[in-house]
């Protein structure tokens, strides 16, 4: 990369927070040069300090935090020294702007969209109100809001999440900043929307020549937007380089781990490479390489001396002793090699349970409908859905938020009552009123793993109670000793230490908590587990742990999963069969590889195209397929649920089915 003008230069920035009387060093001497017009992605797990670091460029640190060392040079001024809000206002908006993570809360709910955009225009561009209005309309159009004239006078709640994020971006861009910081702008959005927002950011960067810092925890996303990538860990940038360098030739073990943990790079039936443990506690003083305790290939020196940056190329630096000539040579893991094309991707020998003549139907859902509310507020969450789950398979349900996938899971575990149809478990009806014995049997047999490890554990109860809650209810033990033994076993099973039983959930990290949740389900010795987005709230490094665990348990206990996800990439790795759900309807259901190879329904195609590939070359050249529900004309020709190939179902009317068949033949 040719030398460009440095627009912002952070040197040895140290940021501390005072928290509960202690001092937490969130950024430990972090340096970064930002070049004019580039898109830099900063990647890291939660708590790595990526967000804090960039907030310091704007003076937007929380009240209890402050820059305690280093300098941030911007336009010849050390903005780390700025104190008053007044000084910062010179920088904010007009010079550096920011797009925050959650579009749902970052707009004033009581002001019209247009006004909010106009506000920043009036602040930073010398325009008359009439001109500002025109400019605001223009901005709205620019960020891809159709019918801007009408949308201008609407309120945020009338916008979907993706649309709101577009508005937030419009507001930020309307300030005409030199640097735009995008702080996880797509994390709260659906995959298909995420892809669109990423494309938008790319466009805007080209149009306005802004410098963009893109913060994310997901390396897959980075490949799409970034020219340069910085990987952060424990308050430091441990590796920085161009996107190609980081994706194809990462040098730091942490970068390997991050990339390797991506399920897109996993091989079905094999373990994903994982990063054990959790990020370090920044309250403590860290000696040596902060990643060392989690690194299987750590050197002795890693525990004692902090590594310096080693330059791989002029643009590629990494902070690891492994690059030291004195250090032993360590091969890049296979997954990295796969990525850089040195190995071919093989999705392994998928099982085909539906072709098994001896298959046993464990769960059967027939024509199920779930509605919420009554009268005019009635809302159909799940609309006449039918499918079967066979013993021993992993059945995945994929759809965006609000599609009804979680509702289906909860209906099967009988948390939500169903309003029509029926659910059979081992051939017996379990929906509606059932006998006590069957109730017990279903409680034992069907368990659930929840999405949010923070919310799914009772904070005020000990792990021991949480894990043994089910066996207590059903008195599945003879005496106290046996119960404790069962708890210990369950904890060991999920890779936790038995002594954790006497602790409270808040003492654990997200991954550990998710494993406690799994232990809670596992202790019942269930046959069937509904895993409701078990990894989507977890950091990338932890996801792999949980996915591996689920796979392991499946083989050990012959478990059957209903795996609910919003992201096809994960599902491809774990699922045997996949059902795609859209607005309460299953639109396509097929064996996993078949679905990836021959997606029929346009929505499936859109979902597939939105999967972020951790490969800059692929990402930059891919065509985004946008799903437009209005392509279906169901006014006369009613759609049907049709098995178009053995084991491959699709939802469509006769015309569509015809075209699908044609596509399959082709």
């Amino acid at each position: 990369m040719e030398k460009e003008k440095i627009i912002l230069s952070a040197k040895d920035v140290e940021i501390q927070f005072s928290l509960r009387g202690d001092r937490l060093t969130a950024i430990r001497g972090c340096s970064l040069d930002l070049y004019e017009g580039e898109t830099l992605a900063i990647v890291g797990e939660s708590g790595s300090g990526k967000s804090v670091f960039t907030k310091s460029f704007l003076g937007m640190l929380d009240q209890n935090g402050s820059v305690t060392g280093g300098s941030i040079l911007f336009e010849g001024e050390d903005i780390a020294r700025l104190k008053s809000e007044k000084d910062w206002r010179r920088i904010r908006g007009g010079k550096i702007a920011m797009v925050m993570q959650d579009p749902m809360t970052s707009l004033n709910p009581l002001k019209r969209i247009g006004q909010q955009v106009e506000e920043s225009i009036l602040l930073h561009q010398q325009l008359t109100p009439a001109e500002a209005r025109k400019e605001a309309l223009h901005m709205l159009e620019l960020v891809g809001i159709p019918d801007a004239e009408r949308r201008y006078s609407q309120y945020p709640h009338e916008f979907s999440g993706g649309m709101r994020q577009r508005v937030v971006i419009a507001i930020a861009v309307a300030c005409r900043p030199r640097i735009l910081i995008c702080d996880e702008p797509t994390t709260a959005l659906d995959v298909t929307i995420q892809a669109q927002i990423l494309a938008l950011i790319r466009d805007l960067q080209k149009k306005f020549g802004m410098t963009i810092i893109y913060i994310t925890h997901d390396l897959g996303v980075v490949a799409n937007v970034a020219e340069r990538v910085a990987v952060m860990y424990a308050g430091q940038i441990i590796e920085i380089g161009t996107a190609e360098e980081i994706f194809y030739d990462p040098r730091h073990p942490y970068s390997w781990a991050l990339l390797g943990a991506l399920p897109q790079l996993g091989i079905k039936g094999e373990k994903l490479p994982t990063i054990e443990g959790t990020p370090p506690n920044l309250f403590n003083r860290i000696t040596g390489d902060a990643f060392a305790p989690r690194n299987r290939q750590a050197l002795q020196i890693d525990y004692q001396v902090e590594p310096p940056y080693f330059e791989v190329t002029s643009t590629h630096k990494a902070k690891t002793w492994l690059l030291d000539p004195r250090a032993p040579r360590v091969e890049q893991p296979d997954s990295i090699k796969r990525l850089s094309g040195r190995m071919t991707v093989d999705y392994g020998s998928a099982r085909h349970p539906h072709e098994d003549p001896d298959r046993e139907t464990l769960i059967q859902v027939r024509d199920m409908q779930v509605t919420f509310g009554t009268g005019r507020r009635k809302f159909v969450a799940v609309d006449h859905v039918s499918f079967e789950i066979y013993r021993g398979e992993t059945f995945a349900l994929v759809g965006e938020s609000g599609s009804g996938k979680t509702t289906i899971g909860r209906a099967i575990t009988r948390i939500n009552p169903i309003s029509a149809g029926e659910i059979l478990y081992k051939g017996r009806r379990i929906s509606g009123r059932i006998s006590k014995e069957l109730d017990r049997e279903v409680i034992k047999g069907c368990q659930m793993i929840f999405q949010d490890p923070l919310a799914s554990l009772n904070e005020r109860a000990k792990v021991d109670y949480i894990v043994s809650e089910g066996i207590r209810n059903l008195h599945m033990y003879r005496d106290e000793a046996e119960r404790q033994e069962m708890v210990r076993n369950a904890l060991c099973e999920v890779g936790l230490l038995p002594e954790f039983a006497s602790r409270f959930p808040h003492e654990f990290s997200g991954g550990q908590r998710q494993r406690i949740g799994i232990a809670r389900a596992l202790i019942m010795k269930p046959e069937f587990i509904v895993a409701d987005e078990p990894i989507s709230a977890l950091d990338v490094s932890i996801r792999a742990q949980v996915l591996n665990l689920l796979n392991e348990l499946k083989t050990t206990y012959g478990l059957t999963y209903l795996f609910i996800a919003h992201d096809l990439s994960v599902v491809r790795f774990i699922a045997d069969r996949i059902a795609v759900i859209y607005k309460g309807r299953i639109v396509e259901l097929s064996e996993a590889e078949e679905l990836f190879r021959h997606p029929l329904h346009p929505y499936t195609k859109a979902l597939l195209s939105a999967i972020p590939e951790p490969d800059p070359a692929v990402e930059r050249n891919k065509d985004l397929v946008v799903y437009d529900p209005s392509v279906h004309d169901y006014t006369e020709d009613k759609p049907v649920w049709c098995e178009i190939l053995p084991g491959h179902f699709v939802f469509g009317n006769s015309a569509e089915l015809e075209s699908y068949r044609a596509a399959l033949r082709a």
């Binding site: 904010r92 702007a97 004033n108 009581l110």
Partner: protein, 317 residues
């Protein structure tokens, strides 16, 4: 909208009906001796008392009375007072009094809005400053210390030091209203300041405020363009209730300063077993209560575009 309004009004009607019926029946459980004055109790024999009660229609069974009452209300006849002012239509009894309560209440309301809300705003803007501490001390004092004590203080200071009239007088409504209005406003100023400050402080931690800061908006701009209106929404919900309740008058203040308002009417009419007045008053209060809630929801929906008034309650999504 219209459908919603009708539905809400019908629901309110039901609530009012239930409340009035309950109070009606409770009243009939009261000893009828309250119907008589002390003078009468000294001299009247039980037989004479029975005759008087019978003449007043209070001897019939409670349900007969209830039926008669609702039939009369349905005809639009709200009955006459018996013991507040014998034979005077209840509407007039109430009409005489609620004007004064309302005028006083409105004055106090206006004052407390004009003082309380700016006070809350200033406190929130200069959070943890001297003024904030001062204001907080004031709100704590007013909210914590029983009203009887703080009114007594006002009374002593006002009457003894400032030589203000201790009693409301129709001849000098201005001067003699100062102390009662002060007492009324004192409490609600504290209330408004407290809630305004709290809502504003809450609002200031919201993400969209961060975005506004990032835009480069001045603290002033943020305060006036974003925080103020949003913080006002939850306040707006209570405004109609507060306004309507001014008609009800404040029992304590009006007793304290001999204001001939609605406040003491209620306890007086119960004390005197003036059933018609009690029933209509309860009906009035209950209607004001439910109307207040309804208007509050309407007002909120006017301020907050997120709130759609359909189906039950003004639930936001």
């Amino acid at each position: 909208m219209l459908k919603y309004t009708i539905k809400r009004l019908l629901q309110s009607l039901l609530t009012v009906f239930v409340v009035v019926t309950i109070v009606f029946l409770l009243l009939r459980l009261m000893p009828t001796d309250y119907y008589f004055t002390e003078d009468e109790l000294i001299k009247l024999t039980d037989e004479q008392k029975d005759d008087i009660l019978q003449a007043a229609g209070l001897k019939d069974s409670a349900f007969v009375q209830l039926g008669r009452f609702y039939a009369a209300v349905f005809r639009g006849d709200l009955g006459t007072s018996r013991r507040i002012m014998n034979g005077k239509p209840v509407t007039e009894v109430i009409g005489d009094r609620f004007g004064i309560s309302m005028r006083m209440g409105c004055m106090a309301l206006i004052i407390s809005l004009l003082v309380g809300i700016p006070m809350g705003i200033l406190q929130a803007r200069h959070k943890d400053g001297v003024f904030d501490h001062f204001g907080t001390a004031y709100t704590i004092f007013i909210n914590a210390v029983p009203r009887l004590v703080s009114y007594s203080l006002v009374y002593i200071l006002g009457v003894r030091l400032l030589r203000l009239p201790a009693m409301y007088s129709t001849r000098q409504p201005g001067v003699s209203s100062i102390l009662p209005i002060l007492c009324l406003a004192m409490g609600s100023i504290a209330g408004y300041a407290l809630w305004m400050r709290r809502y504003m402080v809450d609002e200031m931690t919201k993400d969209y405020i961060k975005l506004a800061r990032i835009k480069g908006l001045t603290p002033r701009g943020i305060m006036f363009r974003h925080v103020l209106r949003n913080a006002f929404v939850p306040m707006a919900q209570n405004l109609p209730t507060t306004f309507l309740l001014t008609i009800g008058g404040s029992l304590l203040v009006e007793r304290f300063f001999s204001v001939p308002g609605m406040g003491p009417l209620l306890t007086n009419s119960i004390n005197r077993y003036d059933t018609n007045v009690v029933q209509i008053l309860v009906m009035l209060y209950a209607s004001m209560g439910v109307m207040g809630m309804f208007l509050g929801d309407l007002l909120m929906s006017a301020f907050d575009p997120r709130i759609r008034l359909t189906g039950k309650g003004g639930e936001s999504r």
